[in-house]
Amino acid sequence: MLNYIWAFMILLGIIVAAFTGKMGEVTNTAIISSTEGVEVCIRLLGVLGFWMGIMKIAEKSGLINLLTIKIRPILRYLFPDIPDGHDAQKYIAANMIANVLGLGWGATPPGLLAMKALQELNLKKDEASNTMCMFLIVNISSVQLISVNIIAYRAQYGSANPSEVIGPSILATSISTVVAIIFGKLMERRKKI
């Protein structure tokens, strides 16, 4: 899908530029923006490297495992259809903790393992189970607490106080997650199998 979006964006831009007489700018921006892309990545490397280093310590020291056990009650409430102690719980916990800590990419592997485990429990193999729907909706509502990336980008573009958005973001994402959970629970009640 991204193929079409990207092609569409560039073609649309060039065609419109032909009409608005901004072809020169298009060439310039191709050079400037591409360079910028690289610059952003290099700066991100620093922040991300540091954060992932710290998170690795948390993982190796067993801190993450500890957190996983602590959030079991939450998992039991959100996903009542999973038998306690099932692998799915472990994977969902790892996925959510990774998301909370801002390690989006680190969240995908356990997330996929969680789906596999949930599929085992799924009664209708070609349909998403209630648990799967809830899992995805909560995931997409974004449970990220600290978005290191955004802070790095803000700093790069000259923000006077890059991390001032952390508090408000947490509030906003909590709201969206609560909405997600309410919706999920309502839908579950309607579709009582």
Partner: protein, 167 residues
């Protein structure tokens, strides 16, 4: 908050006799792979977004959307972002950086955008990857729920930004 977390993690690691720095390096190395994966995508997307911006396409779109957003004083420049955000994280990132460039990260738009990015997630990509990995095509109410969650996030971000930072 971050210094707190870092301190906590390091102290806990020391107590559990972890080779702090070696493990740190191990984790930091993983970031290199991630960056290598993102970089080509970001280059492609930033150029695409840049071209859209300098061509004036967004100005034209704005003219059409202005009457609607005048009603709730929501910045019209963010409509493309919100649509794009549900589709592709890299494309929306390119747009965000572009907005930072134009308005600055500390402007109302800059802050609102930062908060929106923090509380929303790509819908179609995430759903496809997760459901396809187990071969499920009937996703039932997942899409609706995801859209509602993201829209709630955007609305919340708008009022939170307005309330905390003002215009």
């Amino acid at each position: 908050m971050i210094p707190l977390i870092v301190t906590g993690v390091i102290i806990y690691g020391l107590l559990r006799k972890v080779n702090i720095f070696d493990v740190f390096i191990e984790g930091a190395k993983e970031s290199v792979n991630i960056i290598l994966t993102i970089m080509p995508t970001l280059i492609g997307l930033m150029v695409a977004v840049g071209i859209i911006r300098v061509s004036g396409s967004l100005n034209i779109l704005e003219v059409f959307l202005r009457p609607i957003t005048k009603l709730i004083s929501f910045p019209v420049e963010l409509i493309p972002l919100i649509i794009l955000r549900s589709i592709s994280s890299s494309a929306s990132l390119g747009l965000v950086l572009d907005l930072f460039k134009q308005y600055g990260p500390d402007s109302f738009i800059g802050r609102l955008v930062s908060i929106i990015m923090g509380c929303t997630e790509t819908i179609f990509y995430t759903m496809s990857v997760y459901f396809m990995s187990v071969g499920i095509k009937k996703t039932r109410y997942t899409l609706v729920g995801a859209l509602i969650a993201n829209i709630a996030g955007v609305i919340a971000s708008f009022y939170i930004t307005l309330y905390i930072f003002g215009k």
